[in-house]
Symmetry: C2
Subunit: 194 residues, 2 copies
Amino acid sequence: MSLHVIPPRSGAAFILRAGQLLKVIDPMGVQVSDLLAFNAADVREVISNGRTFDYEETIALTTGHRLWSNRSNVLLEIVEDSVGQHDFLLTPCSEATFRHFYPDQPVHRGCFGNLAEALAPYGVEPDAIPTAFNLFMNVPVAPDGALQVDPPVSAPGDFIVLRAAMDCVIGLTACSAYASNGGSFKPIHYQLLD
Amino acid sequence: MSLHVIPPRSGAAFILRAGQLLKVIDPMGVQVSDLLAFNAADVREVISNGRTFDYEETIALTTGHRLWSNRSNVLLEIVEDSVGQHDFLLTPCSEATFRHFYPDQPVHRGCFGNLAEALAPYGVEPDAIPTAFNLFMNVPVAPDGALQVDPPVSAPGDFIVLRAAMDCVIGLTACSAYASNGGSFKPIHYQLLD
């Protein structure tokens, strides 16, 4: 039940056992958290946006929806969601995306670098990091398909709760990109609940 | 300039050299072709829908758009497109998706199985097959995020042309799923042009 803190612009990785709940909290509001999940028994099995869109038949994922793996198994189920606005289209920010989108700002390794470092002890190589499920991230899709990145609508204390369907390695960040977080960087809190 | 034929419900893999053009033709119309691309020098670098959505800032990809890798490099550029309707949200059909979506039909290994077999000689493992760029696939996104799979709008002879930005291993199918192809299965043709 202890509260874990991910400092601004950093990341963490940990085991979530089958049946356990992961509560991810946006303590100050308007802060994105990139989430990855891998089968703890074989990290080649990994969360897949395409398989999730296949089976859930929507890109708007919230309570009751499941997050599927590249092997067509459920990794996580969303059991509570006080925001209802997340993104599963865009990849973790990285040195390359900082150079592309923020050429006047210092380059940062971003969520990609933070996830790569946190997941390395679990045997996950950087190339194996897929599109993340980006909690609280606000990416409206226009009728013509155009994407934009708006500030999250999450208020201080908003949260999402996910239940593990199998033992998972979880990667989780406090996102490092300007546009995703309304221009500032805040921590993310999480709890593991039995 | 020779014309290659992918028979209905099958797949192929081949090398596309940097600068070469790949023309993929829907000879009878209303037929999807799943396309994958890998860096031929290191197949851990692979086409990424998330990185492509990041940099192209749209999910509606057509002439002038580029298809990006997980390492933020351009693999392919779309240089001609007589259809303008493709999908980069959904994963290749597979035994699992046949069981899920077509429980009354015989199970087929689908594009996933066809791609896995065709790509194995290039060192690509099944778990490394990501969301494909699904040529001619018609997946409208409703305002609430809901997805549906409609028949392609491609007419007989419609095509797309892509230019390789690096030496690529290409995987390509004639799609095996009922909904994607308006209920019937047809061949796909392709040409490599210097």
